[in-house]
Amino acid sequence: MTHSLLAQSPTTDSPLDCDELLARCLGNADLVERVLARFRGSIDQELDALERSLDAADAGDIARRAHRIKGTSLTVSAHRLNECAQRLETVAMSDHLDDIHSCVEDIRQEFARLDELIASQQAMRGQSCKY
């Protein structure tokens, strides 16, 4: 069984390392699908929560949320998102909060890229059952 994401040419620019994720799921493409669907479903919630913490200027809460995104992104092999979350966590825990908005913006953009990628693959799978 081939994961539809694997059909794409992997590039270092890809927001998701599908080979790695599939290997972590012991080659179970159905599990990959479920995990990515759940991940996609959580994106809005994560961003909303992050925005609320940002509005409240609660650096501790931002750091905690960034840490969680960091863990999730590692698990689903979204390495660029992981880097963004790592930066946000570091900034939120430091005294230099000036960069915090740009870090959150990076995360928002990376989430958008992932959302688009997963949505397109879900649509492809719906048509051709490639998972």
């Binding site: 012991l26 759940r38 905690r64 698990t75």
Partner: protein, 368 residues
């Protein structure tokens, strides 16, 4: 209560409790563990997880380190603080950048760590280790329970098995320090004799009540029947070995069962072997068994003092007993006296209490 899922696919593996506040991490871990054949239950917070552990259904817990509310470390400490019915193997899931905090995890009582993002092969291996540790404890408890069950037919023996295995441990540990035995008796030998010596009289289950429970000395004919317990015990354990040839501890138990009434000069039973033809484990158990029989009250005699027992055992040096084992006994007298005092029959507890107290019988398996 945040119990997300429960399964019952009749897996033969130990069920695993997964704890993580991140539902995506839970989903992938749960999926992978199911692929590996485990029954899995999940919880998204430490409080719920602790209730599930306390319920007693889980011997393996895989918990995230950082969680809101009760953290993985706090959950681990709580599990260790409570007297649970069996040992819970606790694995903490942690980020690579928290590696320096592993000491904190160990101090909290964690058994192992898995780094995020997890590697499925590593996860598989570490869970196998967890299962092995948990099954060892179950095995030890089952062995001791069987021995207690066999012994329960004889109301006189009280805490004989508890003292016996302690005496055996002390003798084996002492011998392991001598040049003659240091390459023969290692830590594994000590653990195995501690584990299996309670099975020495398991063959008594095959002895008729009128002989086993006779309130007085046995006639020669009755004694011949009683002597069969060593053969019955070894044959029973042989059947178990046949079913599980790789279980070395069963061979050890069998050797003890048939040889603990052999005498160093060849006058014992059932085979009349002498000297080092008698397995070492049987020679050790012989001294421990006789010492306990001498120093406890039986229907046909009062309990002898330690000094009297010491004299009888010393008199039997080279005839009844291996001189090396007698010498070890003399070096460890104080420990024998202390064990006798600590596990005195006058402070007998019910069988259930003894089994619970022996849920983790091997000292080396105590959690750190």
């Amino acid at each position: 209560m945040q119990v997300l899922n429960q399964t019952s696919n009749n897996s033969l593996r130990s069920p695993v409790l997964l704890v993580d506040d991140d539902p995506i991490c839970l989903e992938i871990l749960e999926g992978v563990l199911r692929e590996l054949g485990y029954d899995v239950e999940t919880a998204t917070d430490g409080k719920t997880a602790f209730e599930l552990v306390r319920r007693g259904d889980f011997r393996i817990v895989l918990s995230d380190w950082m969680m809101p509310g009760m953290s993985g470390i706090e959950l681990c400490k709580l599990v260790r603080l409570r007297q649970l019915s069996g040992y819970v193997y606790f694995i903490l899931l942690t980020s690579l950048d928290r590696r320096e905090n592993l000491v904190t995890g160990l101090q909290a009582g964690a058994d192992d760590f898995i780094m995020k993002p997890f590697d499925p092969d590593e996860l598989r291996v570490r869970l196998r280790v967890a299962e092995r540790i948990v099954s060892l404890e179950s095995r030890d408890l089952i062995i001791f329970s069987l021995a207690k069950l066999a012994e329960s037919r004889d109301p006189e023996t009280g805490t004989h098995l508890e003292r016996m295995r302690e005496y055996c441990r002390v003798l084996a540990e002492d011998l392991s320090q001598t040049s003659k035995y240091q390459n023969i008796i290692d830590a594994d030998y000590v653990r195995t004799i501690y584990l299996t010596s309670p099975l020495h009289d398991i063959g008594k289950v095959g002895i008729p009540d009128d002989v086993l429970l006779k309130p007085g000395r046995l006639t020669p004919d009755e004694f011949e029947i009683m002597k069969q317990h060593s053969v019955i015990g070894s044959e029973t354990l042989d059947a178990a070995i046949h079913a599980q040839p790789s279980a070395e501890y069963l061979r050890f138990a069998r050797d003890i069962a048939w040889s603990h009434h052999e005498k160093f000069n060849g006058s014992g039973y059932p085979r009349g072997l002498s000297g080092t033809d008698i397995p070492l484990c049987g020679r050790i158990v012989a001294v421990a068994d006789v010492y306990d029989a001498l120093t406890t009250k039986r229907v046909y005699k009062e309990a002898f003092s330690h000094e009297t027992a010491r004299s009888i055992i010393t008199d039997g040096r080279g005839t009844d007993f291996d001189p090396d084992i007698v010498d070890a006994f003399l070096r460890c007298e104080d420990q024998f006296i202390a064990i006798k005092r600590q596990l005195d029959d006058s402070a007998q507890r019910p069988l259930s209490a003894l089994l619970l107290a022996n849920a983790s019988p091997l000292p080396s398996f105590q959690p750190g």
